[in-house]
């Protein structure tokens, strides 16, 4: 995994070597789609501990990691189950410290995006007009309110501290072996997360030749030189959706929501879908026809863009 030419690696190795106990971790930053659940599951199998999840949304991924004992802090805007509602593991951890307590650093989606942007571009802080009047300023003392020094009249503004995650794991529809990644559709905070993180793991739905990525540089969300490892993980975002590739498996997430209502139900779910499944390939085999039914088969292709120079 060391050299520039040698970033392709197995999911197990990427998680073992690049995500360490106590790290701050972004697992998907597009809000609802492109969430690298395959890495969520592998973190649980490898029993990582003390993770601080930096997440605008990340659907049920954060709830799973809290329930499995991997995540003990959340730096984010929202934890739950997007179609189901509340996150039961998150509730148990926050309300009764079961199976352990969770430290919550409250953000909103916009302030989290601005924090990652500040981290990415070396800004000492990001000034925003959001959060004024919100008790998030009280529950998270990392924000500072000052009077706008550029204004002639008194004008409070909020300073958002920069965030530099230890690791960002981003699921993309296609990337080359160096991690140059094409992403289309809405991208949430993924670009800011990729540029702010100390290490980036790309989970590619498809590995393609460098010429394919280079044929359309405007579609590159982040360049390969910020990427530490590239994992070939077809459907690594299941059950979240990915534009042009996968529909959302809402029934799967609803089933998780029901089963995770009780600690026993959650453990049973974890046993069935994570702990008794050795790896991502076995997970896909277990999904079988269900996964095939989620595959987007239609074509709605963009018009080609001409980059000719003469």
């Amino acid at each position: 995994m060391g050299g520039m030419a040698d970033k392709l690696c197995q999911l197990k190795d990427a998680v073992a070597e690049l995500i360490r106990d106590g790290d701050s971790v972004v697992l998907g930053a597009c809000l609802e789609p492109n969430i690298p659940f395959a890495v969520t599951y592998e973190l649980i199998r490898q029993a990582k501990r003390g993770l601080n999840m930096i997440a605008p949304i990340s659907d049920a991924s954060t709830d799973m990691l809290i329930g499995a004992g991997c995540a003990t802090a959340v730096t984010g805007a929202w934890v739950g189950n997007v179609s189901g509602g509340l996150g039961h593991n998150y509730r148990r951890a926050a309300e009764t410290a079961q199976p352990h307590a969770v430290r919550i650093n409250d953000f909103s989606n916009f302030s989290l995006g601005m924090a990652l942007m500040a981290g990415a571009y070396g800004m000492p802080f990001a000034p925003v007009r959001s959060l004024l009047g919100s008790d998030i300023l009280k529950s998270n003392p990392a924000f500072k309110v000052i009077d706008n020094p550029m204004s002639a009249v008194r004008e409070p503004i909020v300073l958002v501290p920069p965030l530099k995650p230890d690791v960002a794991v981003l699921a993309v529809p296609r990337a080359d072996a160096e991690g140059n990644a094409h992403v289309w559709g809405s991208t949430g905070l993924a670009q800011e997360a990729a540029l702010a993180a100390r290490r980036v793991i790309v989970l590619a739905d498809e590995i393609v030749a460098p010429e394919i990525i280079a044929s359309d540089p405007s579609r590159v969300l982040f360049p390969g030189f910020v990427v530490s490892a590239v994992v070939d993980a077809h459907a690594g975002c299941h059950p979240s959706p990915m534009a042009g590739r996968w529909k959302r498996d809402t029934a799967f997430l609803d089933d998780y929501h029901e089963q995770s209502r009780t600690p026993d139900g959650f453990r049973a779910w974890l046993g069935e879908w994570v702990l008794s499944v050795p790896d991502h390939a076995a997970y896909c085999r277990k999904l079988g026809d269900r996964l095939e039914a989620l595959r987007i088969r239609g074509a709605a292709l963009a018009a080609p863009a001409n980059y000719a120079s003469a």
């Binding site: 179609s83 509340l86 909103s108 007009r129 529909k247």
Partner: protein, 251 residues
């Protein structure tokens, strides 16, 4: 023509959207309201989604989340969260829809903690983009079910600021614009009134009574002068709704 309570809520929400406005659209009822507005009185309204989707026409197909593939297909712009919320910070967004677990007399919303921060009785999912929309959209539109334990005197935690303590409190906090303009529930429509901005009953839905709405409200709800019945959906509005709601999910 007959209609369900949810259809009435959708149409009441649609009426809050004016033509050519940029509107932050949430899921479920607001997304339907945006579609109805586009097909009836606001054909040039633009919908924004915090995941980074901007749309002219509403999506064709069922959405479980705002970033599902049908919402990407045919979008006006697919970009990032900072871009669409930055537009709102820049003052370009006219209105935004949010919901909440709790709302109070001044339209402040809680989606974070019930019963204290340290050991909450209920840990709710958190802000998402709601706090940003409440702070920075020019008008805040709230949609939620009307129950006494949700409509409280004072929320225990202000995730999304409304008029705060009323009067000039919101402006004093540094929020130069915005504030709740309407709260659309399954029983009524509430609006802020007077310099204090306290939420008042603006209209009750057909089949509801003023006393019934007051009984479902955790503060002494006053009526706006001339408060009457929420106008039933018109033919054009219902036709628009039926066009979008092909499967009759909201009927």
């Amino acid at each position: 023509m007959s209609f369900s309570t949810q259809e009435l809520m959708i149409v009441a929400a649609a009426r809050e959207i004016r033509d050519r406005e940029l509107v932050f659209v949430g899921m479920r009822l607001p997304i339907m309201a945006f579609g109805v507005a586009r097909l009836s009185h606001a054909p040039r309204a633009v919908g924004l989604f915090e995941c980074g989707v901007v749309r002219y026409a509403p999506a064709d197909g069922t959405l479980h989340t705002m970033a599902d593939p049908p919402n990407q297909l045919g979008a006006a712009w697919t970009t990032g969260t900072v871009q669409v919320m930055g537009l709102m910070q820049g003052g370009r967004v006219d209105a935004g829809f949010i919901g909440g677990a709790e709302i109070d007399r001044y339209g402040n919303l809680n989606t974070s903690y019930i019963g204290g921060i340290e050991r909450p009785k209920v840990k709710l999912p958190g802000s998402g983009g709601a706090a940003d929309i409440a702070a920075m959209a020019k008008r805040l539109l709230v949609i939620m079910n009307h129950e006494k334990h949700r409509f409280v005197e004072r929320v225990g935690f202000v995730t999304s600021p409304g008029w705060l303590a009323g009067g000039e409190a919101r402006r004093r906090a540094g929020l130069a614009q915005g504030g709740p303009a309407a709260v659309i529930t399954d029983r009524a429509v509430l609006r802020p009134h007077g310099p204090d901005h306290e939420l008042h009953l603006a209209s009750v839905h057909p089949g509801q009574t003023i006393d019934g709405v007051r009984a479902a409200t955790g503060w002494d709800l006053k009526c706006l002068p001339g408060a009457g019945e929420t106008p039933a959906p018109g033919e054009r509005e219902l036709a628009a709704l039926h066009t979008i709601d092909k499967d009759g999910f909201w009927r």
